[in-house]
């Protein structure tokens, strides 16, 4: 891996920023250089939220992503906004429970995961974001599922360690999903 630029986007409240934090922490624990940049302000309150994560073997220059290698979207407006920005050969992960449109581009790999439905079925309905993350780790050649549990333990506050199992459940469901 040299540098992987990941853009995650959706509605406020879907755990977009948390998902990004998870990836950034995972990179940190793998001794990579990382940056995490959220969108902020009133648009976050019920509007669109997005988050740029860069994982790199060399120091991160600009933390702002204009051409993501990986796009993860959890609502239609975000897909429409960013679909053309993804670099050719890049990947797009779509929560297909919430987005029914298909990507027309043929120069990118697109993964459709019914993450919101899967999270609901698994009894972790607020963790569709982590279902997606599980699928990303499994399918992106630059990333790996190894060390996921350590990352989640690190990310969840010590007082709420019961959430580790729930997050792992969602991540594993995403990893094991076969279209």
């Amino acid at each position: 891996m040299k540098t992987t630029q990941i853009l995650i986007a959706g509605f406020g409240g879907q755990g977009i920023l948390f998902a990004g934090k998870f990836l950034a922490y995972k990179g940190l624990l793998e001794d990579l250089q990382v940056s995490w940049l959220p969108s902020y302000g009133p648009e976050m309150r019920g509007g669109t939220a997005n988050c740029s994560v860069i994982l790199s073997e060399t120091p991160v220059g600009s933390p702002i992503i204009t051409d993501p290698d990986v796009l993860i979207v959890m609502n239609l407006p975000s897909l429409q906004k960013y679909v053309d920005a993804v670099v050719p050969g890049g990947q797009i992960y779509v929560d297909s429970t919430l987005i029914h449109e298909k990507v027309e581009r043929t120069d990118v790999d697109v993964f459709y995961i019914p993450a919101t439905q899967m999270a609901s079925d698994a009894g972790v309905s607020t963790l569709a974001n982590m279902v997606l993350m599980g699928h990303v780790l499994k399918n992106n050649p630059q990333l790996t599922f190894d060390g996921t549990e350590t990352t989640v333990q690190k990310l969840v506050p010590p007082t709420k360690q019961q959430l580790v199992d729930l997050n792992m459940k969602a991540l594993q469901a995403g990893r094991d999903y076969q279209p």
């Binding site: 250089q33 990382v34 940056s35 995490w36 959220p38 902020y40 600009s62 933390p63 204009t66």
Partner: protein, 370 residues
């Protein structure tokens, strides 16, 4: 090596301030810096410190003024419109020669402006803001790690020179998370015999004051203060040079703009253009010597700024206009892409005899685009 943790830039400032010995924080909420206040509100009561949310930015800077006069390491933080309100207090703090530490996580202006990142308070920070002849040490971090290290440095410098040290950051660096370690915190301590502590009936009373009704006294005080400023200029300028050794085009940028510019410089090198970067870390004192040296070497300068071209004036002054300086800028909360900076570098590299024609200016604002 100390453990690397992920932290937001704003939180890094707060944690570094505490490690630098700051136990008093007075502030007022404003986006995009409120994480600093929130962090302080959580931490200060647990370490015997004081967090107080003031009724206004004006009150908060004057609380800082009082606490600084009492000899404490004290800070406030705000964002652009709030710093305008604090400027009165900054002038008094300068006029009384007390040390203070102030953070401006800039957003777009003027007026209420916007809340997205900006660097448009460069003039305000480096040229004044408040009334009267005074200076502040202005530190411009470009990473979360620097948010912390320059905070510690700011507290040290403020005490050393009895003046305000300001962190001039922006919404991006304030909001972003990067790995950070706190191993290099070096806290310097300075005696403060001038501080208000109560006389204890053992000494003459101390007076912290900026009023001099006799013009000759005020003039003398101002001259003395500028002697101090001269020492700061001679000894405290900081900057980073990137690929400058053989550079023919010198890109200048600070803070988040420098991060973008670095990517663009690397891209220019890949195209065979000998570009380099000078990143001022202190905006005042401005690293004039580095710019002057660069002017002997390069054909042209490109100043990348998140404003309408404020630092460009200092570059022209430092280089005595010996080389053309073009502006590559975005404003209002927009950030230039590395591609935009790259095309500015390309344009500068294409100039003949070190002269840029107006048509080669690549700012979208000047072209009327974007």
């Amino acid at each position: 090596m100390a453990e690397r943790v992920l932290m937001k830039g704003n939180e890094a400032i707060a944690e570094a301030a505490i490690r630098a010995g700051c136990r008093h924080y007075f502030g007022y909420p404003i986006t995009p810096q409120t994480e600093i206040a929130a962090y302080m509100a959580k931490r200060m009561p647990k370490i015997g410190g004081v967090f107080l949310q003031a009724e206004s930015e004006i009150a908060s800077i004057n609380m800082v003024y009082g606490a600084a006069a009492a000899g404490m390491r004290v800070m406030t933080s705000s964002s652009s419109p709030g710093i305008s309100l604090k400027s009165e207090g900054l002038s008094y703090i300068a006029g009384s020669d007390v040390p203070a530490f102030v953070v401006n996580v800039q957003r777009g202006g003027p007026g209420l402006g916007g809340i997205q990142p900006s660097q448009s308070d460069y003039f305000q920070a480096t040229k004044g803001g408040g009334h009267g002849d005074y200076r502040m040490i202005v530190l411009a971090p470009a990473s979360v790690q620097e948010m912390a290290s320059l905070t510690v440095k700011g507290f040290n410098l403020a005490d050393k020179y009895r003046m305000t040290a300001m962190i001039l950051a922006d919404g991006t660096i304030g909001q972003m998370m990067e790995p950070i370690s706190f191993e290099d915190v070096e806290v310097e301590t300075y005696d403060k015999p001038w501080a208000l502590t109560g006389t204890g009936m053992k000494r003459e009373h101390n007076i912290v004051n900026s009023l001099y009704l006799k013009p000759d006294e005020l003039e003398r005080t101002n001259f003395q203060r500028y002697e101090k400023y001269r020492t700061v200029e001679e000894s405290e300028a900081l900057w980073e040079e990137y690929l400058m050794e053989d550079a023919e085009i010198c890109v200048t940028a600070f803070g988040i703009a420098a991060r973008v510019a670095k990517n663009a410089v690397a891209a220019a090198r890949a195209e065979g253009i000998k570009a380099g970067l000078i990143r001022p870390i202190t905006l005042w004192p401005f690293p004039k010597a580095a710019l002057r040296r660069a002017a002997d070497q390069v054909k042209a300068f490109v100043s990348v700024e998140l404003n309408m071209g404020q630092m460009i004036e200092d570059i022209r002054l430092a280089t005595e206009c010996r080389r053309p300086v073009s502006l590559c800028n975005r404003t209002g909360g927009m950030i230039p892409s590395p591609d935009q900076v790259l095309s500015s570098i390309q344009a500068a590299a294409g100039c003949r005899d070190g002269r840029l024609s107006e048509g080669q200016m690549t700012s979208p604002a000047q072209k009327g685009g974007n």
